[in-house]
Every structure is written in structure tokens, then in C-alpha cells.
Subunit: 341 residues, 4 copies
């Protein structure tokens, strides 16, 4: 591969940012501290397989129903095709879609009667190739996964035997809230690569956007950075998959935990600010949020059209339906999230 | 392959059933007659790419929002795994899910710092392997597709260049209605294989189920036959993929058309009753509904849990979110439909 | 899956056959005894990655060149397509071959000049879906692989890091010998399912076939049972993949070891007689030959045309070229073996 | 995609090179002229499916056997893995190899007895992703394929129904000859990108290399340019897949035809010199050699180790075994060619 590897750790050195000011320079120590503070282990019993999606209660979904006013729906999914962000890193290719029969296959060719023609197709794709959920079995901390599970025996070559994405198939629907940090703090709606979104940015965005943006238990949180806008405006994918990006600061772990948010999704490849905030680190926030908080992370969501609508009508909450496809034992899933206002 | 081929045409002979009584013995003539009566070509202009999904207006979606009362959500998707119904016919295999890294891949093995472990996965699957939508480019009538398009130049080996499933990505959400014909006319909730559901059965089911079951413009119609229940109870998949099945009679084409339904989905492999109702025929209703009516067909939807709930509370309408994954140029898509009551 | 699982262990009970008479009833003890007797660990140093292929020396290949007399070549490969033996067990499907462009894709459609048309294709396949080699990383004995390696750290989700099939890419070419046991001991050239081929059968077949059949160091041994003939004659694949089959008795382990054979291939799914010869056992001979002897096993080789030719001219030796495709880290490989006489 | 498209036609303008001097500026006219001069249509009857491989007669293979002297074998295949030349163009990705079980899958996890562990794997790959053969159905001239076939009806979404690569499964073995043009005319054994190899270069290389390099009927011709050496020395893949490259001049069509060569393979992505030699052209030599001459083209063959050996012992002929994998209906195939000296 000729591309930079997204899992190259950040350079050594002394870093000065919100995360190191709060947690110090050592990523392992920071992760341990944040994990201790934010752990939801055993909160829903020793066998729990869905984590913070437990926060979404029927009353939240019923409330979300009341947010459907104009009847306008938005897809938050990128196209799934070969013109996507993937570059082959860790065998993550873009989806390969092939036709097993086409419109040129006549009824005669197909051996079918009365002029019946059929086209059919297939796909090969990494489950995290485009708009997606990270499942609870996607990331581990020192060999330990969600709720304290042994990663080696839980997520085998037969898949995630306990916390597979299929456990989330019916429940990831509720009140969605968009925090358009790109619009609040960016230039032309875009945060620069390397911009770390802190709790203060999130709170200020809520303040700016108003009452419909309050965030609480069971909410499906969407954070727009504007990086995808930049890709679309002409920058192209470039190093979107793993390169420098705006994103959540490590310091948001406790904010997310305290607000009892159900899920978090962004318009970037990896949710977190890149380069990461600690020397010698790779995606440290994942290492807290997935195994310790038990939180689904949504990546590469296309929030632009929804964001424009929210900016237009001043309403930043909506019904959000974003169920993963129930691949048995999967640690991630493609998703076409639908916001309905 | 050792399995019966689902596209073997029905035997020659003279058939006596609702379809032949109405349309005669010749499937080609029947298709032509039904197509002429039910055509929506040019209804939404010459360039339309979404067909009857156009019937779903914002007001329908706003109304669907009011159907969210208890906040209970149901997934209507089968698991996506290797224990599915496919038998390899026309290269339709069950999804093959593989891990590209597992929980046994330690941070050291992965070259990652601070104890970060990552599991990742990929899938190969026909787009119509499990719970799915047939896209508008899936079926043709004598080489002609939706809205009169030339199939050979519209659906090429690069995919469906005009009516690909991605055009439906934001809109397949609205009021769902369940007609539980299996419960109304079956034994233990199951229609026998070969049972042809006619308009009379549909009307009687609506009558039986009551006001919440009325069907009209823009509705997402679910028809439960109970065949999947039979599979689950112990019959196993057997010839579920293409063998004998209960399903819609060819005579429902005009009923569906007149009611201006947006989409139809069932709990069977192929929506239509099998064996099909005309001598020497294969899936004749598809040949009317997809290219002429412009209707998305949902197949292999798991309606049992939802049906039990509807039977329980007597409410057969709900918000239904069933967006396809936007594979560019696809003629079908896996889907995890969510009903929210 | 509706198919019997090929890895169901044989029934409990007391077995009376050549293997139990020699090794007793306990498969674990039998494997341990045979492994101790036949081990090649460290024979080629602690880092060896190719096992008994080391036996093939340049002089053997030079001799094999002299066996090319008539210039007639034979492919020993089954077709690779969807009409193959696989039934989905352990996600082993038949190859799925799809066209990414076809002859109907004109130069104009493809954006190509001067009437240039291009067809292109892709495949998804398990590496052991059809005619194949089992690589040295395919089978382990109590977590230990070839030459005493720790299986867990050697064969990870990144593949076989030390004994991958790519290590064999240049060397699997030499003198091939066909022992047509089906012709020698079968009816119409076919051994019955469950027929266990013992060293005595192998020696008698050599005796019967004559001088060109002598077997020794560095030879690539082909053993024909005739099971594939039966499939082809009309039985169909049935349970070819893992069901009852003629094959090598566990007692051949020492014979193979003593003769210093380089590789063994048969016309069956799994080389060994099925059901296996010990109570509660699954493919015990594999557990000796791969991790302890370090021997490549060829499966599902089509030996019929070659066998007919050998029977005809009485010459059972030939140049055999059977290099695996060098998939980096693979534990198996498709192969199109060519015999040249 | 961010990569240059290999099928971008060469720029307009007036070109001065061996090809335009002989054939003029218009690629379509040049192709027509060369096709007329070199056509083998009907040479082997109207139903022929293998083209110039017909030139390989048993006597050639018997002679090839005599070339096996030292018993040294060489693989001419690149590794098949994710670190390959493909960049996603026309959905050609590098092979994606995944483990369906690993060495960490213990006997207990797998439900297997007596400590039996099994690793297994699968691959997704375009058939022309790495070292490969172009099959006869790969390229067409104005909708016409080998022997005058209608491309649209011959190569459908079910594959190549008449000239699929499986027809070549037993026969691509014979006398190989290496013409190391890179060594003869390059700097440090490497021709510069854009270097067009003409018949004069080929003849001069034969002259230089001596008697073992004479080329004639039925030979499998290998032409080394040294481009792959450059990649390996540190240039990396870069635009190897479709970018500038040394390669055969269009003027070699008649030379190849007159010598009655069976197959031609090179160490480049596309055999032909790149950029191509006519204004507004894409791979014009393919358009002659595949549909008109009926010649298999080998691409991305790794000739360096063999070339070093030939340079060392001065012998440029050998037994070459290069059978495609018999994917039914395929228009290309991966191959691990073995040269035996």
C-alpha cells in the first residue's frame, strides 16, 4: 500500500492540549483514568450485550415520534460504491458491487418464459467501509471488551459470540440531536483538521442552537465537523480514511458518559480528532467508549443535508432510525440512518 | 446444485384458479393485460427513478409519526449469516461473514500502542440473500424496465444506471400496515404452501382486523403468510428459497395499483404464490409490479414478532422505517426494517 | 444449514478395523502414537516452513523431466464454479464468479475509444472450495502446528505468519505417481464409501501396476479411489463434501512417512476414509500428517482422465506440476495440477 | 478514486513512432489493418475456443521435457495479497484474504474432538488482480470476439459461454523462452517507461542471447522489461497499474503472428507500451491479439529470478507450466507459472 497507515501512532514528544492538561502525557494512564471514571460495566448486569443503547427507553421513542412534524426524511448515508474513502488499509476496500445478471440477459439467455428478465447483484465489503456503526466487539482495552469480557474468547474467527451487532437490531431508534460544531466554530461550516472538540464546544453549540439541542439520557447524538463537506467541495477523499481530521477530544469521554447518551456519530472516518491528543497514541477515546462505556460509535455519516435543514428551521432534534443490519457476530455494520422531522 | 431451481416454470396444463379465471391460461397475455391496466409509466414524468415510493408524501410521514405511541420498536429482519435460506441458486449464497482481525489479535500483533485491540470484519453477499428490497431494476418485461426503459442499456454490468436502489435511500419511511392473512385464513396462523392470496382475502383481513388496517395511498404494506413461522417451528429452510409457498395471487396486481400502495413486503422468498398460477410461468406478478407499476417488493421479512404485538393490541398500523442501503446502481438491497408503535 | 456437518465426530462404540487393531480405540492416543513415530520436527531445522516438500530435490525434478515422452498433458482440476461440491459448511461455499463487465458493455458504455470492448471478472471463494492443497497451517494438534509452532500465534487473523502456502510456490513440481486403488480393488474402478485404504492396498496396487509405480523419496503421490467417478456418473455431489467416502486408513501414516513422500492427493473431499476409523473421531490422519509429518494434502483432485491414460499405456509416473497460488499467509490454495507424460 | 484511470486514452496530436510510421495516426485504421494481416479466424475451425494455444503440439511438450536438466524450478508469480498493484480502478482491488478460522480457534471452540484444530480461509479477488492470464473473452473489437463471435451473446453476466478460460486448463504447458529485453536494451536491466519494444528489439535480443532463445511455433514467450524490478527496488507500485510502462510496440503484432507463438507474457501491468503509440488510443495491441490472433496474454509475471538464472547459465529456454485455474466462463485467471530448467 502506498497510503499512510491510519494506525500509525502519533509522534513522541510533549503535547499541550485539553486532553494532556487534564489527563497527562501518557495515553495508557489517561485511558485507565477515563475508563475508571466512565465505566458502565455491570450497570445492566453481567450478561449485557448492548451497552448504552439500554438508555433508550420506550418513552424516549414515544417522544421521538412527536418530533415528526413536517414529514420530511433525510438519509445520512454515503453512497456505497467503489468511489469511497477506503484505501485498502487493513484490507478495508471500498464496496465491490457486481451484477450476476443484467438487463442484457434476456429471458432466453436466462431460460425464463414469457419475456421475464431478471437482474441480480452481489457485494463484497468490509463492514466498516462506509457509513457504519462500530459494534461493541470492535475495540478492546488490553484484551478486555465490553462489560469485562475476554476479547480472545468473545470475538473469535466465528465472530463476536456475545456482543455481536445483531443484538442491536431492533433498538437503535429514538431521539436524534444534531450538534453542528462545524457551523458553530468552523469557517464556512468546517472545522480544520486537528480541531479537537471539547465538552466546552459541545455545551456552547447547544447554547447557540437552542432548546431543541439539549442532550440527555437515551439520545442518539450526531456531531457534525464539516470534514465531509470539505471532501465533497473538491478536496476529494485524500487521507479522509485515517489522516488528519477534526473530531472529538479525549476529554469528551466523561461528558458523553455523564449525559447518558446512547450513541455518538460523526461525519468523519474515526470520530476522534486526528492526530490523536497523546504522544504515541492511536484512537484512545475508542478504547474508553467501546469497552468501558459500551457506546456504539457511528462513523462516516453524511450530516450535511440534515444540518442545512436544521439550520434553516432551527430545530435540531428529530426521530432517528439507525438500526444496523443484523450480521450475526459482526463487530460493525453498514447503516443507512434516517432522520425524520 | 442439488436443489430444485426456483426459476423452473410451472408445468403445462390447464389451470383453474382466480388468476386463470380472470386472465386466461396464457401468462404472457395475462401479464400484458395486467400491465396495461396497472401501468404507472410517465405518471411521475419520463425520468422518474423511484416509482410508487412517490406516493409517500410528507403528510403520510407526519401521520406515521402520530402512530408512535408506546415507543416499542421491532426489527423485521432475519439474521444475516450462513444459516440462511439460500442454496446457491443463480449464485445466491448466504452471507459469508469473515473476521479480518479478532479479539485474539493483541495490540502487539496489530502493532498498536497502549493495549489497543481492534476486531474488524467483512462480508460477501448477494444483495438479495436475506431480508431485502427488490429494486426497480430487478425485473423486466420483454427487455423493458420501469417507466419504459431499455433494460439492456439501463442495467449493465456497471449496475442500474438510472433506477438504482440508491435513489430510494431517504424515502422508504412512512405508515406501515400489517395484513396478517396467515392469522385470518391459516391454521395456527400459517397459510399452506400454494395458498393464493386474492384481493378478497386482503379485503377480508382488513375487515377482520379493523380500522387500523385500512390501506391507501402511500402505505407500506406488509402481508404475513406464516410461511416463515413454519420454517422456524422446525421445518427448516428446506425449499423456502423458491419452492412451494403461500403468497400473493396474480389478481392482486390491480388491487395494489388501485390502492396506490407504495411498497409491498411479505415473509416469503418471493412475494408471489408458488407454484405460480399460470401454466409455464415464473413469477408473473413481478413482471407487472416492478417494470409497470414501479413498486418495490420486500422479501423474506420476518413479521412474526410484530404480528404477535399487533394481534395483542389490535393496532395494525405503525411507523415503518425501511430504507435500503444506498449501493450505487444496485437492483436490490438488504434492509433491516424497523416498525415503531 | 440442512446438510450433515462434516465435522460431526464418529459415533461412540467399539470399532474393529485396521486402525483400531494397530492403535487401539482411543483416537487421541492413536494420534499421539503415530505422531511420535512419524514426526519430522526439526528434520529441516527449527524454522522450516515447507515440510516434506523438502524431499523434492533437483535430481527428482530432473528425473521427472525424463518422464515427458509423448507430450500429453492432463489437468487434474475440477471446474471452479457454482456447481461444485460445497454446501456452505463452515462458510465453505462454491466459488462465486461474477462479471464486472461483459461483452454487452460496448466501447461507448465503457468510455473507451476505437471500438475497444473489455470484459472483466472477479471471484469470491474459500481457498479450499475445489481442487486444492491443504497448507501446513491448516491443521493443528492440541494447539501445535508444523515443526512445533504455537498455532494461536502462528496462524492469526492476518493469516499464517510462518508456514503460509506462499512458501511452497516454486517447489511443488516433480515426479508424480498414480496409485489407482479404485481400479485395483474397486468395482468398476470405484471403491465403496467407507473403504479404508491400508498400506497393504497401496503395496498391492504398486505390485499390480508395475515398475513405474514404485514410490519413494520426493514423490508426489496421487491415490485414486473412484469416488469422484461415482459423482460424475450420476450420483451427483450429494454428501461428497464430508459424507461417507473411501480414503486412506489412519494406518497409512507410517507408510507415507517411511516412504518419504513429498505430498499426497486424492479424488475425495478429505483424503481420509469416512466415517473415520476411531470412535468419536474427526479426520485423525490430518492431525498427524499436517502438523507432525509436515505433508501437503491435496483434495478433490480429478484423477479420472489421467488414470484412464495410465491404465492404457501402463505408465503410472509422470511430471507433475502443482504449485499453489501464492496467497500470502494462506492455509490452503486452489490448484490446477498438470500431469505431463 | 484518486488514481489516474488506466483507460484514459492517450492525448490527441501527431505521434512519431514505429507504430505510426508503419500504420499511420488513426488507431482504428491501424487495428483494422493489423487484424486483417494477423487474423487466425477459422484457422482451427469455427468453434475453436483456445486460439494460438493450438500451436502447442505434443511434440513441443515432449521437447520441453528435454529442457529439464538441473531440476531447478522457478515461480513466476507475484504474491497474492493486499500489498499488490491494484488501486480500485474498474473495481480491481487487491486480493482480500480472510481467515474463517485461525490457530486461536481451539478444538473446544470448533466443537472438534481429540485436540483437532483447523484454520481455514477465503479470498475475494478480481481474476486479473495479480499474475494472470487474459482469457480470449477479455477483449473485443467493435463487439466481436475471438473467431468472429458476437461479444454481447458470448460473454454475458453468466460469463464467457464459449471461450472461457477453463478451455485452456490442460494445455498451457510447453517450451518457454525468455527474451530479456530489459537486460539487452535497458539501464541496469530496466527499460524506461514508454520504451516501445519493436520486432527489431526482439530479434536483437534473440541474437544476443543465442541459440536457446530462438522463437517459433507453439512457444510460450516471456518478455522481460524490468519495470517490476524498478517497483521492487523501491519505486513501489505507484502507477504500475495502468500508468507509463515499457512494453510491446503495436508493431509486434505481425511478428508474434508470424512466429506462431502460443502465448505472450510480460512483467508489466498490460503487456503494451504505455502511453500507447497512437493518439486517442487505449491498448490497441490487445484489440488485435486477443480477438483476432486468439492469443493469451500474461500480465504482471515476475520474471526477475528466472531472468537472473538465465543470464547466469546462458540458457533462455525451459519447460513452462502455466495452466489457468479453470474458473468456468472466466475471461481471465490468476496463475502461478512454473519454469523448470
Amino acid at each position: 500500500m502506498n497510503q499512510p497507515a491510519p494506525d500509525d501512532a502519533t509522534a513522541a514528544g510533549t503535547y499541550d492540549n485539553a486532553a494532556t492538561r487534564r489527563y497527562g502525557q501518557d495515553p495508557a494512564a489517561a485511558i485507565a483514568a477515563a475508563a475508571a471514571a466512565c465505566s458502565n460495566w455491570n450497570r445492566w448486569g453481567p450478561h449485557d450485550a448492548v451497552g448504552t443503547v439500554n438508555f433508550i427507553e420506550p418513552s424516549h421513542r414515544a417522544y421521538a415520534g412527536t418530533l415528526v412534524r413536517r414529514g420530511v426524511s433525510f438519509s445520512l448515508s454515503l453512497p456505497f460504491d467503489d468511489d469511497g474513502p477506503q484505501n485498502g488499509w487493513r484490507r478495508r476496500v471500498n464496496p465491490v458491487h457486481t451484477m450476476t445478471s443484467t438487463g442484457a440477459s434476456t429471458a432466453e439467455m436466462l431460460g425464463l418464459p414469457h419475456g421475464l428478465g431478471v437482474a441480480d447483484d452481489a457485494v463484497y465489503m468490509p463492514l466498516q467501509c462506509s457509513t457504519q456503526w462500530d459494534g461493541l466487539g470492535h475495540v478492546f482495552d488490553h484484551g478486555i471488551g465490553w462489560n469485562g469480557r475476554n476479547a480472545a474468547t468473545t470475538v473469535t474467527s466465528d465472530g463476536d459470540l456475545e456482543t455481536g451487532i445483531e443484538n442491536q437490531s431492533a433498538s437503535v431508534i429514538g431521539r436524534g440531536v444534531l450538534l453542528d460544531v462545524g457551523r458553530a466554530f468552523g469557517i464556512d461550516g468546517e472545522l480544520a483538521d486537528g480541531f479537537a472538540i471539547t465538552p466546552e464546544h459541545l455545551d456552547a453549540t447547544i447554547e447557540l442552537q437552542g432548546e431543541t439541542s439539549r442532550v440527555g439520557r437515551g439520545d442518539l447524538l450526531l456531531v457534525r465537523t464539516g470534514q465531509l463537506t470539505r471532501v465533497r467541495k473538491g478536496a476529494g477523499w485524500g487521507t479522509y480514511a485515517g489522516g488528519p481530521a477534526p473530531g472529538l477530544s479525549f476529554t469528551t469521554a466523561s461528558w458523553i458518559h455523564e449525559h447518558e447518551i446512547a450513541t455518538v456519530a460523526t461525519d468523519t472516518w474515526g470520530v476522534e480528532v486526528r492526530p490523536n491528543e497523546f504522544p504515541g497514541s492511536v484512537q484512545p477515546l475508542h478504547q474508553v467508549l467501546l469497552p468501558h462505556v459500551g457506546l456504539l460509535l457511528g462513523e462516516m455519516w453524511d450530516l450535511d443535508i440534515l444540518a442545512a435543514d436544521c439550520a434553516d428551521d432551527g430545530v435540531f432534534e428529530f426521530l432517528l432510525s439507525a438500526p444496523p443490519l443484523p450480521f450475526t457476530g459482526a463487530v460493525g455494520s453498514p447503516v443507512n440512518p434516517i432522520a425524520l422531522k
